[in-house]
């Protein structure tokens, strides 16, 4: 019971992070219909930026936790969205309107490039940072097992909820959100109505990268270590989450992220930690077999 509660907390935390990354996949897929394979690596880049900024703050002996978190978030979001913009500009925009596979291949190339660039410039070894947010609340103790809610977990869940709320507002209420949704429906028509499609797509990539940056900072705070390979696994899981929730749907991405996080946490606790990835993918295959458009996705209507 206590273990289940603990895993529920851990799973929700993990799921929130997957959800944040998944939104980037789902938005990009919604607007230009391609899998942004480099998105996981954008997240990895942001984790490295977070490590650098945390170290920098320590050098200047800024020890106030809220201030340093805020600074790290701001800097990481800023620089990572530039990365998101550049990736789109270099690897995807020239290929818009060509076959569906071409941007996928250049995305895989971009992913390999980013991984190796970080490995070269930042080193291949695991980077540990000094714990930023230590401690937590002991919720209850059953049979000597204490259920613990770490402060970093509270932070992750709250930041995610706030971002989701802000994002829903951005997409449903603002002018940019309307432009974005209209680009999703029909790019040609949108352009005819005087909306700068290229700019909207660029902004979408930057927003996706910004969310991935937040996820990267959160993971750095939560685990305290980063290496250049974290992007691949997190990227695949987050993409699975996006597909599970129904690709193109924002609430779906969050729901999918939470589900993947919970499945992983419970599977690791009760069945086997080694096969948790197998569980994730098997459940994905099962969902797609019986509901091919994901949990919240609209079924794709095929026209001749």
């Amino acid at each position: 019971m206590a273990l289940a509660l603990q895993q529920l907390i851990n799973g929700l935390t993990l799921g929130a992070v997957y959800g944040l990354i998944a939104i980037g996949y789902t938005m990009v897929y919604g607007i230009i219909g391609m899998i942004n394979f480099a998105h996981g690596d954008i997240y990895m880049v942001s984790a490295f930026i977070a490590v650098t900024v945390f170290t920098l703050l320590a050098t200047f002996s800024i020890s106030s936790i809220p201030l340093s978190l805020l600074l790290v978030l701001l800097v990481a979001v800023l620089f990572t969205s530039v990365y998101g913009w550049t990736v789109e500009r270099i690897a995807y925009r020239p290929l818009r309107g060509s076959t569906r596979l071409a941007p996928l291949i250049s995305a895989i190339g971009m992913s390999i490039f980013l991984q190796n660039m970080v490995q070269l410039t930042q080193g291949a070894r695991v980077k540990p940072i000094a714990p930023v947010l230590v401690g937590g609340i002991d919720l209850l103790t059953i049979d000597g097992f204490t259920v613990r809610l770490a402060y970093s977990q509270i932070l992750i869940v709250f930041v995610t909820i706030a971002l989701m709320a802000g994002f829903t507002w951005l997409i449903t209420q603002t002018s940019f959100g309307r432009q974005q949704r209209s680009c999703e429906q029909d790019r040609t028509m949108t352009a005819l109505l005087g909306i700068n499609v290229d700019r909207t797509i660029s902004l979408t990539f930057m927003l996706g990268a910004a969310l991935a940056a937040v996820a990267g900072v959160m993971v750095t705070v939560y685990y305290g270590v980063v290496d250049f390979f974290i992007g691949f696994v997190a990227g695949i899981k987050a993409f699975t989450a996006a597909v599970l929730g129904g690709i193109g749907s924002l609430p779906g991405a969050m729901l999918g992220g939470l589900l993947i996080g919970l499945i992983e946490a419970f599977w690791a606790a009760y069945l086997s930690a080694e096969y948790k990835d197998v569980a994730t993918f098997s459940i994905l295959i099962l969902v797609l077999m019986f509901r091919p458009s994901g949990l919240l996705g609209r079924p794709e209507v095929e026209k001749v």
Partner: protein
């Protein structure tokens, strides 16, 4: 038109500088966190290290590079416009059947036949050529699934792994030979192809991509963790090498060996050469098999399915069987390549079957031009030789590899040899060619 050309030529220097300046600003923002700053481990704690000179060099390269590139591109475009105006001819760039391609194909075959004889004392060349041929074979196998049937498979390496492990286990546990295990491993990989194909029949495009990716990862995770079967991360060691119809490549001993049977002097490179010709033979058989399959009804159905699935169903083609046959056949060819890989290396571990490998094989198919057999050969050459040539600056080679993938795609989005010609086409009068 002329005014437009002139206008392009007269882009003012200030505009060009502004444009390059914007690029330099982006380079600055990209460079600060990655190049300018880094963290180094010092006594268990991280410390900031700076590399400002490198950062400034990077920005300068971006600035000048953009300036020159933009200028060159504008010049080129202006010239092309003038030329096209002068000729007023619409150049048909979709020329499909280029007679040169046949000659290149035969030439490549000739080169591949004599290459090991010419370089028989240079083991490195023959080894690299063998690696190229493994990728050619994998590319031709995946080409059936992706290029012909149009099913995006991101987990192709799973079948390669199934083939390799089937041979590894059969040979080390049951003492099977290479030639006995080859068909069994092929069948095994094909059945895995059907296992993967069955649940994904209804899926399209990107959903299919992610499921195949997941399948590839599942196979790899099982191989890592099911230690009793696969040896876990340590893999399977001392897998027997293939023999020449029962004659092993060994120094002379009691049993007849290849060298003693043919009265040759034993030399270690005999096995290398044999392995090379073995994979060459397997690859050529694959090519022959696939190009014949393309002309059969099922092969034509693959291509039709790639172009329009709904139309295919309306014409009464059984989509399930067509898709499953493509999966099974592609998987079988991957399995054969896996058997050869295991036999050549003598050692296999899950490390050889990561997603990166799938990505490289897919890149070979797409870069080569989907559906083009010769394109696969060219792309394998590029993708295998590029990291090999980069050995001198070894740490940059994967970086260059990734950049090359992007650049080739931007340069030729349809692949090096882009054509989507159907293998068979209807000619009035009922004759097909």
């Amino acid at each position: 038109m002329t005014t437009l050309v002139l206008a392009r030529n007269t882009t003012s220097l200030t505009d060009r500088l502004k444009d390059a300046g914007a690029i330099a600003l982006v380079a600055l923002l990209l460079g600060i966190p990655m190049i300018g700053l880094t963290t180094v481990d010092q006594g268990g704690a991280l410390r900031i290290a700076t590399r400002w000179p490198t950062l400034f060099a990077f920005i300068a390269v971006c600035f000048v590079g953009r300036l020159l590139l933009r200028y060159g591109f504008d010049q080129w475009r202006a010239r092309r416009m003038v030329r096209e105006q002068a000729t007023l001819a619409v150049v048909d760039r979709s020329v499909a059947t280029n007679p040169w391609l046949d000659w290149i194909g035969w030439g490549a075959l000739g080169v591949s036949l004599v290459l090991p004889i010419a370089f028989s004392d240079n083991r490195y060349v023959v080894d690299t050529a063998t690696t190229v041929l493994i990728y050619v074979m994998l590319g031709w196998g995946l080409n059936v699934v992706v290029g012909l049937a149009g099913l995006l498979d991101l987990g192709y390496v799973a079948f390669y792994a199934v083939g390799a492990y089937t041979y590894g286990l059969l040979s080390t546990q049951f003492g099977w030979g290479f030639w006995q295990a080859l068909p069994v491993a092929g069948a095994m990989a094909a059945s895995f192809g059907i296992i993967l194909g069955w649940p994904t029949l209804r899926l399209r495009g990107d959903y299919l991509a992610i499921v195949t990716l997941g399948f590839g990862e599942i196979i790899r995770v099982i191989l890592v963790n099911w230690t009793e079967l696969s040896g876990g991360p340590n893999g399977i060691t001392s897998i027997p090498r293939p023999s020449f119809f029962g004659l092993p490549f060994k120094p002379p001993g009691d049993d007849p060996t290849f060298a003693s049977f043919f009265g040759l002097e034993y030399a270690p490179n005999q096995r290398i050469l044999f392995l090379y010709y073995l994979i060459l033979g397997l690859a050529l058989l694959t090519n022959l098999f696939v190009s014949r399959m393309r002309k059969l009804p099922v092969g034509r159905a693959w291509e039709a399915m790639r172009e329009d699935e709904i139309a295919c169903r309306a014409m009464g083609i059984n989509a399930r069987n067509v898709k499953l046959s493509a999966f099974a056949l592609g998987a079988m060819l991957g399995g054969f390549a896996g058997v050869f890989f295991a036999a050549r290396q003598g050692f296999i571990s899950p490390e050889s079957f990561t997603f990166n490998e799938s990505a490289i094989i897919l890149a070979i198919v797409v870069l080569g031009g989907m559906g083009s057999q010769l394109g696969v050969v060219l792309a394998s050459l590029v993708l295998v030789l590029l990291p090999e040539l980069g050995r001198d600056f070894a740490e940059y080679r994967m970086l260059i590899f990734g950049a090359a993938m992007i650049l080739i795609m931007i340069w030729k989005p349809g692949g090096i040899l882009a054509h989507r010609e159907p293998t068979m086409r209807y000619v009035a009068g009922g004759e097909s060619r």
